[in-house]
Subunit: 341 residues, 2 copies
């Protein structure tokens, strides 16, 4: 079984963006804010948006199930205040829940959180609980920089984040550390901000001691861990200089996905990072949608690279495709078990 642990609902019907535009236009003018009930998308529209996009591509490439969360670049936690984010997160999570309900064997839900810059992270807890306990989310996306590229939040190891981790541990869901759109002109969203966030988060974890306090917390760093595997020697050397354990010890709690869009990158990832800590993912339909003229295949068809890498045994490859993610996402494992899978 092939599980893609990182997909976003990037293809939602136009009504969603239209509703969001109205919500954003009404910031500071709440009497004109649209009501969530004014967003009407039929099941048929949802089905079509999935069947012609993600599901088609999954079938073409041979993946069985995608963990499916709201579009990362649309989370835009820096837009509006915590109330704006809360309403928006509910709407986006509800849509992912509906997709997972319509295609119960093909999609499992991931959730976004209603973060807002400078706001106490405890404000996300009600939606986190709702998404997991009522909607069935098996993972949540945690944004280490809700400001959208100004990086004015404390590191992920800061105690202000602890209530989120306590709830994640209690609910047995991992978090994927995933930023949203950059509103900083220095950072291209998917070409710089995403990768920088991955690198930054990993180094924060190297510097800190988070998993001493949360030994069962699991964090997924997407996009192949940003720059970390390529610079694994640097991270090992810095950890040594900081008097911290070898970063490999973090990999009991930290996992990298395979959203690396060429063969040499996947070869490096699977050479450097123990296979138990690598989770298959493509992020399709996402940041990079084109076909590589050198290969004739989509850049984000990461299954081809994972299949082709000489650095995994068959058993390790199976683990990257299935058993690792079932171990790291216990609620996904329970869901699949309930389906007899």
């Amino acid at each position: 079984m092939i599980i893609d642990c990182h997909g976003h609902y990037t293809t939602a019907p136009q009504q969603l963006a239209d509703w969001r535009d109205r919500q954003v236009a009404a910031i500071g003018d709440p009497t004109n804010a649209p009501d969530p009930t004014e967003l009407v998308i039929s099941d048929d529209e949802l089905r079509e948006s999935i069947e012609t996009n993600q599901l088609r591509v999954m079938d073409e490439r041979g993946s069985d199930l995608t963990v499916f969360s709201p579009r990362a670049s649309f989370m835009a936690h820096h837009v509006g205040d915590v109330d704006v984010s809360s309403t928006w997160a509910r709407i986006c999570n509800d849509l992912c829940h509906r997709v997972a309900t319509l295609f119960p064997r093909r999609f499992a839900m991931g959730a976004m959180l209603p973060q807002s810059p400078g706001v106490d992270p405890t404000t996300v807890l009600p939606e986190l609980r709702r998404a997991v306990e009522e909607l069935g989310a098996v993972v949540v996306n945690l944004n280490p920089d809700p400001s959208g590229g100004h990086w004015d939040s404390p590191p992920l190891t800061d105690r202000s984040w602890y209530p989120v981790y306590e709830t994640l541990v209690e609910l047995e869901v991992p978090a994927m550390v995933h930023v949203s759109t950059s509103c900083n002109p220095a950072f291209h969203t998917t070409g710089a901000h995403y990768l920088n966030a991955d690198t930054t988060a990993f180094m924060q974890l190297v510097q800190g001691d988070l998993f001493a306090d949360f030994p069962t917390l699991r964090l997924v760093i997407p996009h192949g861990g940003g720059a970390a595997p390529y610079h694994w020697g640097r991270f090992r050397g810095l950890a040594d200089m900081l008097g911290k354990p070898d970063p490999e010890e973090l990999l009991r709690n930290v996992f990298f996905d395979t959203c690396v869009y060429h063969q040499p990158g996947i070869d490096l990832l699977t050479d450097v990072i123990p296979s138990e800590s690598v989770l298959f993912a493509s992020e399709m339909i996402g940041a990079v949608r084109g076909i590589d003229p050198r290969t004739g295949h989509h850049f984000d068809d990461t299954k081809r690279y994972v299949d082709a890498t000489p650095n995994l045994t068959d058993a390790e490859r199976e683990a990257v495709y299935e058993s690792n993610v079932r171990r790291v996402y216990p609620r996904l494992d329970a869901l699949l078990a309930s389906q007899g899978r």
Copy 2:
């Protein structure tokens, strides 16, 4: 001949840090600012600080010449105003000039620029000219984020940077794109901020069209290009989506150094990036100073990785060690030629 294009004077005598402490303490209180003439370091002290450190390591590892610029993390352009930065840059550049003068066959000078957050980049031009024309700098370090981790400068493709590029082109010196200390607690300086800056700068260049305006400008992106080579497929795919040329076309003007501190990283770099665009460097004595217990050698002994990689022919390896940097740094080539090398 083996040329290390990326070394910093990280081992200057204590008087330098003491003088800087006094300068920083007097910010806002200029009557107490120390005079540059109060910094006294003898030639013998300079010699010793080099012979026991960089020169010893160069001899141990077998490199012939290091391009040697002021300590990157000490540039700290965010500290004080443009006058503070200007005085500090002059002092640091003068010291590197003295080192290159004391060891003319082992060190060539690189310069820092007196950047300051929010200040027009034209203010760096006098020191840039002085460093090149009077002190003999063969490269300058250009900080894309003088704020130290707040990233409030426009992208490197913005026209406000153009006077710097015009002067670099006129003087025939490349710039190494290199940030300084992070004062943002989200970013570890050498484990996140440096790598993020490399990735960010490269993506800015992918988005822009800088080399159409400056076809002979050359920019070196250190630390193996940040995350760019590991995510080369992502950058190629994003360039395609943005309607930009394949990023490989940038590599006529953009060069990556070999400051990647493990064998798989150097293998990826030399697999993905054409060897003409790779410049040997170690950044020693720099960010990572320890010995890798797995190999018994220093993490930053990058010559071992370059020697061992199967991805370079002997001719390509020679180019990475010498001829590429002589081509990219014409003033270094002229200096070496004047020495009969």
